[in-house]
């Protein structure tokens, strides 16, 4: 018996534990069973992730960034599947080592052979160095570094420093595909042994007038002087230069232009790479989804997938778990949009304000661990965008009262602000305020959305997310 075909008993036991506990948790109705099985599997075989990922023939792609990693990795996985590859992917968005381990255990044979040719792995920011160490990626796709859940991650600088240390361990056959519009990412990926290519926006008619409030990277990481932006697209993403030391946005290998936003419905753009031009027309909205699509398309091009297949897949792509969803309930259209940090929340409000918000909206703010226990981020959101409307805004969730105060200080008339009780007791009441045949918006934080999903599933409305 050769070494490679000998059964690794410990690995098989770890895989079995992961598989069985995942099933048991789902059977018991205790949720999607996306992380706990990985925890158990890692107790039995601490190297389960290293071993399983090492057997994936065409390599691993790790996707990281504050915003958009679930959407981007889903886009990329869809493209690769359409290219007839078998893809292993932590699709539920469970992105710590244990969640990724669970996804791999579930998608491997009982003897520990992964059922896939290539892996797309979404990684949490804090877990990123450990994930990179374990999975030995072929490509690392870096989307952005925004302010998010600072109570959990510590300051942005700390994350950036830890990522840099991780990058310094990479080899020349590994590729970093980086959002060049993010000055922090551009700075921490300079001068490495690994290859680097950059994507970004070359030209946009949707410019911000000034740096938003929640910006962390307005200073040059090389010398500490303020950066000057000639174009600013979203948060601190743009075309920048440091007048003091000369640090500037590097030339883009994948450059987007001709971006057209169509409210909450869609966005289109043109992506140039080498000699090829890709016209992308997405069925999901917003500038941040344009960035996600550019990143996914860039990675697919780097892997040698044909442009036509990429454009076709991205055109058919629908929103990942709960980012934006439309459901029909009691004769009303409910548009549900996840809000989890200032930049994402800002963009959602920008889309609502561009469309002239006239329908009722419900904002549900929780402060559990997965939401971030610190709700001070609400003060970094440009809620003032809503001040000109006249539609009612309802608040709910564990920290709904904080949101009501935030609305008031944004200059929204108190007659428009309606604090409601806990979601379970107020959801129907909110639906009642929407006229039959009309629509309403619900903007929940992460755990509030899980709760909303459970409530809707209970009423027979949407599929549970781990079934997608």
């Amino acid at each position: 018996m050769s070494a490679s075909s000998r059964l690794d008993v410990r690995l098989a036991a770890g895989v079995a534990a992961g598989k069985l506990s995942g099933r048991a948790i789902r059977l018991l109705g205790r949720g999607g069973g996306t992380a706990a099985p990985g925890l158990i599997a890692n107790l039995i075989e601490p190297n389960i992730l290293n071993k399983l990922t090492g057997k994936v023939r065409d390599g691993r792609i790790v996707v990281a960034g504050t915003n958009g990693k679930t959407t981007t990795s889903r886009m990329l996985a869809d493209i690769l599947e359409r290219a007839d590859l078998r893809v292993i992917h932590n699709r539920s968005g469970s992105n710590l080592v244990r969640g990724i381990s669970a996804a791999f255990a579930a998608q491997s044979s009982w003897s520990g052979q992964p059922r896939g040719d290539i892996a797309v792995i979404e990684s949490d920011e804090a877990a990123f160095p450990d994930v990179v160490r374990r999975v030995n990626p072929r490509i690392i796709l870096l989307l952005n570094l925004f302010r998010d859940q600072l109570d959990r991650y510590g300051e942005l600088d700390t994350i950036a420093t830890r990522w840099r240390e991780s990058f310094e361990t990479l080899r020349p056959d590994q590729l970093l595909l980086v959002n060049g519009d993010d000055p922090a990412l551009a700075a921490i990926t300079e001068d490495l042994a690994a290859q680097r290519r950059l994507f970004g926006i070359q030209e946009s008619r949707y410019l911000l007038d000034e740096l938003p409030h929640a910006v962390d990277s307005a200073l040059c990481r090389r010398c500490g002087a303020p950066l000057r932006y000639s174009q600013l697209f979203l948060s601190h993403l743009g075309e920048y230069v440091c007048d003091s030391c000369g640090f500037r946005r590097p030339p883009l290998d994948f450059a987007a232009s001709d971006i057209d936003l169509h409210g909450l419905d869609s966005v289109s753009l043109r992506l140039a790479h080498d000699e090829s031009i890709l016209d992308l027309s997405l069925a999901i909205p917003g500038l941040y989804n344009a960035y996600n699509a550019i990143a996914a398309a860039g990675a697919a091009l780097a892997l040698g997938v044909g442009p036509a297949l990429i454009a076709e897949t991205l055109g058919a792509f629908r929103s990942a778990f709960g980012r934006i969803e439309r459901v029909s309930y009691r004769g009303r259209q409910l548009v549900i949009v996840l809000v989890k940090n200032p930049v994402g929340f800002d963009e959602v409000l920008r889309m609502l304000a561009v469309g002239g918000l006239s329908d009722p909206a419900l904002i549900v703010i929780n402060d559990l661990d997965a939401d971030g226990r610190d709700v001070s981020w609400l003060w970094d959101v440009n809620v003032e965008q809503l001040a000109n409307g006249s539609s009612p805004i309802y608040t709910s969730g564990i920290r709904g009262a904080d949101m009501a105060v935030r609305l008031k200080y944004a200059g929204i008339a108190t007659e428009r602000i309606h604090p409601l009780k806990a979601l379970a007791n107020s959801f129907e009441q909110f639906v009642d305020t929407i006229p039959e045949g009309g629509s309403g918006y619900i903007l929940p934080t992460y755990t509030a959305m899980l709760e909303l999903r459970r409530m809707l599933a209970h009423r027979g409305v949407v599929a549970d997310f781990w079934e997608q």
Binding site: D151, R373, V375, S376, A401, V405
Partner: protein, 242 residues
């Protein structure tokens, strides 16, 4: 009537929603018919004595704090101290609070000098204090916010704390004190943002400013029912998670 709110280092030190404090001050002036102007004073900008009525200085990341520490030495720091001696109100949170003390001592590297307005020193600690914080202040009653710091601040013999920690860690996690008070200046570790959920503190600063600029000692009450509810819910969370 008009008040000028001076936001110190707002572009380099604005973390954990500290901007909410400036919004609270400005809106609570406007709702009373007092015009409010927000002026950002950044690196290299001189501080003109008498030009501003309320000062706010928030927290920042360590990297940004180095430039700010250098900038506030000399004429600028002296002018700010003279303003406080003259009765000007000030709120500082976290990084700003630390640089109003004698120095901040990082884990590695040289001390960052402060301006010594507060008789306090801060040393980098090994543990990060993160969580809801409730403080009992003799003057302002119950205050609630969210702390997130690893700096350990120790008050000198001349310093008066802002209050006593009921839930959380406060200045250093040991002596039960939180923040510092000197004349109408307040330093503390409470983000949240602090003022929107503690309108009493907001109004203390506005009132001190009106007294100094217009010799006026009245401030009409506002309907604070949303603020009071948010305050109570935050205190409830702090107690539940203790």
């Amino acid at each position: 009537m008009k008040l000028s709110i001076c936001w110190l280092y707002g572009s380099s030190m604005n973390i954990y929603g500290d901007r909410g404090n400036v919004l609270s001050l400005a809106q609570r002036c406007r709702w009373r018919g007092i015009e409010a102007e927000i002026v950002q004073l950044g690196l290299g900008d001189p501080l003109d004595q008498g030009a501003h009525d309320i000062y706010f200085w928030g927290g920042g990341q360590d990297r940004e704090q180095i430039n700010v520490s250098a900038d506030v030495q000399g004429a600028k720091g002296d002018a700010l101290k003279a303003e406080i001696e003259d009765g000007a109100p000030l709120l500082s949170v976290c990084g700003g609070y630390q640089l109003l003390g004698h120095y901040y001592r990082p884990a590695d590297g040289a001390d960052l000098p402060g301006i010594g307005l507060f008789d306090a020193t801060t040393t980098a600690g090994n543990e990060r204090f993160i969580g809801n914080i409730v403080v009992e202040s003799r003057e302002f009653g119950e205050l609630v916010g969210f702390e997130n710091h690893s700096g350990l601040t120790h008050l000198g013999s001349n310093a008066e704390p802002l209050g006593k920690v009921r839930v959380g860690r406060g200045n250093n996690g040991v002596d039960g004190t939180e923040g510092c008070r000197y004349r109408n200046a307040i330093g503390c570790y409470m983000h949240g943002a602090l003022l929107p959920k503690n309108p009493k503190l907001s109004d203390f600063l506005i009132r001190a400013a009106l007294r100094r600029r217009y010799s006026l000692d009245v401030l009409p009450a506002l309907d604070d029912s949303l603020e009071t509810t948010a305050h109570a819910s935050a205190v409830g969370r702090a107690l539940a998670r203790r």
